[in-house]
């Protein structure tokens, strides 16, 4: 009888611990996603400033600048109407276009020496990095969570309590995601 009670007690403790672990992981996943969202919004705020201050100097990049502004508008619209997938597609376009602008900055000496542009560039570089690091962490923690709800025996609890897997961020094949933020802005 005592042994039976002990086994029941151990089982209950195990269920509580596993459940709490899953909840903690799920909250971490949600928080990681919020972080990405915060950084994307920050980038949306910074882009008009950047475009405004380099527009005069970067005469041959008007097309890229327009592309960035268009993609920004589309992304904001898509997120507002709840179309997450389209939103992230446009975010990827922004990332690529900004990477091009960063690289080209070297060939515009008046931009290189401009203090205000330097600060804006630093902010945007940081935001670009934050976006990709936040995604990296999101993917790591989501993989951990998805694994936790799939492996035996935690999967029993996950099924009973309705823990569903989250999607990972997949980067387009031709993306240079990891290269883009690596632009060296130190003078």
């Amino acid at each position: 009888m005592t042994i039976f009670l002990i086994i029941i007690a151990i089982l209950i403790i195990w269920v509580i611990i596993s459940f709490n672990r899953l909840v903690t992981l799920r909250n971490q996943v949600k928080n990681a996603f919020t972080q990405i969202d915060i950084q994307l919004k920050r980038r949306h705020d910074l882009i008009p400033n950047l475009v405004e201050s380099v527009k005069g100097a970067m005469k041959f990049e008007q097309e890229t600048l327009t592309k960035v502004m268009e993609a920004r508008a589309k992304a904001i619209n898509a997120f507002q109407s709840g179309n997450i997938k389209e939103g992230f597609q446009n975010e990827n376009i922004i990332t690529q276009a900004l990477g091009r602008l960063f690289a080209l900055r070297e060939s515009y000496p008046e931009l290189k020496s401009n203090q205000q542009v330097s600060q804006l560039m630093e902010e945007l570089t940081a935001t670009e990095n934050k976006i990709s690091f936040a995604r990296q962490f999101y993917n790591d923690i989501t993989t951990k969570y998805n694994t936790a709800i799939e492996v035996f025996p935690t999967n029993i609890i996950a099924k009973m309590m309705n823990f569903t897997p989250f999607d990972l961020f997949e980067l387009p094949k031709d993306s240079q995601e990891r290269e883009v933020p690596k632009v060296n802005l130190s003078i």
């Binding site: 902010e123 940081a126 690091f133 962490f137 790591d140 690596k182 130190s186």
Partner: protein, 333 residues
């Protein structure tokens, strides 16, 4: 060896050394109780004859641990304030481009590690160094020298901050605190022993009547342990510290996915010969490099390595090059 294998290996070695450390402490402490204090309390009574039954209670072991714990806690409560005032550290100025960059890089690495952003300070020292502290990732601190900000590129700075953030996220501060408590506890016992030995008293001799030869040999081994205790505990602590450095290097590479940046940062730090005057030896195990100067880290012979907080630069760079090689290879395929 890739980043994850390296991390697994370092974590495993930490646990093994920590177990050895705890066993060593128990050997010293319980030996002290058994041979010296004769910690047999008349705790329980035999219900039939009513005579007291001796029961072993390790008073000395427990007492030394508690005293040591209190000392360390007292040192901790004012630790950060003392550190800020003794190093002359200041907050970075967000309007200065380089310092803004530092703040951004710290936030980037905190995001990559999934921990709240550590509070950042700049230490006015021209040497290249950085260190991290704080009892939990929820509230932690990173100190960076002026020389580091001035001499590293953005990527290199990111790699160094990644190293420090890894010390925080792997709970190295807690680990080293536990080790400090153990070292102090061992110190208390061996100090007590050496003092009373000088007075010419031995608890063993006074109660030798109830011991045989086998316990005499154990006693002898124990005495040798006690004499060597300060050296052995330091060697063990430094062995753990070096494993944590490799682990933090691998952790930085994991966060930045750019082991090459840490290699070039370490090369630059290596070139800065002078010691970091503003950083004390007591925080050496949480720095990116030993604050006593790079000459210490260039020695690769066995004995100087035994007492070093950091592995030789050459070995750290080699380990990172292996990671970089694996990383590039995987990216191409």
């Amino acid at each position: 060896m890739n980043i994850y294998e390296q991390q697994k290996k370092n974590k495993r070695l930490t646990i093994i050394i920590l177990i050895v450390f705890i066993l060593f402490f128990l050997a010293i402490g319980l030996g002290f109780d058994y041979f010296y204090l004769n910690s047999f309390l008349m705790a329980s009574y035999d219900p039939y004859s009513g005579s007291p039954q001796p029961k072993f209670v390790p008073i000395g072991t427990v007492a030394s641990l508690i005293i040591s714990l209190i000392f360390v806690l007292i040192a901790f409560t004012n630790g950060i304030k003392m550190l800020i005032s003794s190093t002359g550290a200041r907050m970075p100025d967000p309007n200065n481009l380089k310092e803004r960059q530092l703040l951004n890089v710290v936030e980037e690495m905190a995001l990559a590690a999934g921990i709240p952003r550590p509070i950042t300070y700049i230490v006015p020292d021209n040497d290249l160094n950085a260190f991290a502290t704080g009892f939990s990732p929820e509230k932690s601190y990173i100190f960076v020298t002026q020389g580091l900000i001035d001499n590293l590129t953005r990527e290199e700075l990111q790699a160094v901050i990644g190293h420090e953030i890894s010390h925080i996220r792997f709970y190295d501060i807690r680990l080293m605190t536990v080790i400090t408590v153990l070292i102090n506890a061992i110190g208390i016992i061996s100090d007590f022993m050496s003092r009373s030995m000088r007075r010419g008293y031995s608890g063993y001799r006074s109660s030798s009547s109830r011991r045989n030869n086998a316990s005499g040999i154990i006693f002898l081994i124990w005495i040798i342990f006690v004499i060597l205790a300060p050296i052995i505990s330091r060697i063990l602590a430094m062995a753990i510290s070096r494993q944590r450095e490799y682990l933090a290097d691998a952790g930085s590479a994991e966060l930045t996915r750019n082991p090459k940046a840490l290699i070039s940062a370490l090369e630059k730090i290596r070139m800065a010969i002078q010691p970091t005057k503003s950083m004390k030896d007591s925080v050496a195990h949480l720095c990116i490099t030993d604050p006593r100067g790079s000459l210490i880290e260039e020695r690769t012979d066995f004995f100087s390595n035994l007492f070093a907080t950091h592995p030789p630069m050459e070995k750290r760079i080699l380990a990172l090059k292996l990671m970089a090689y694996e990383y590039e290879k995987n990216k191409q395929t």
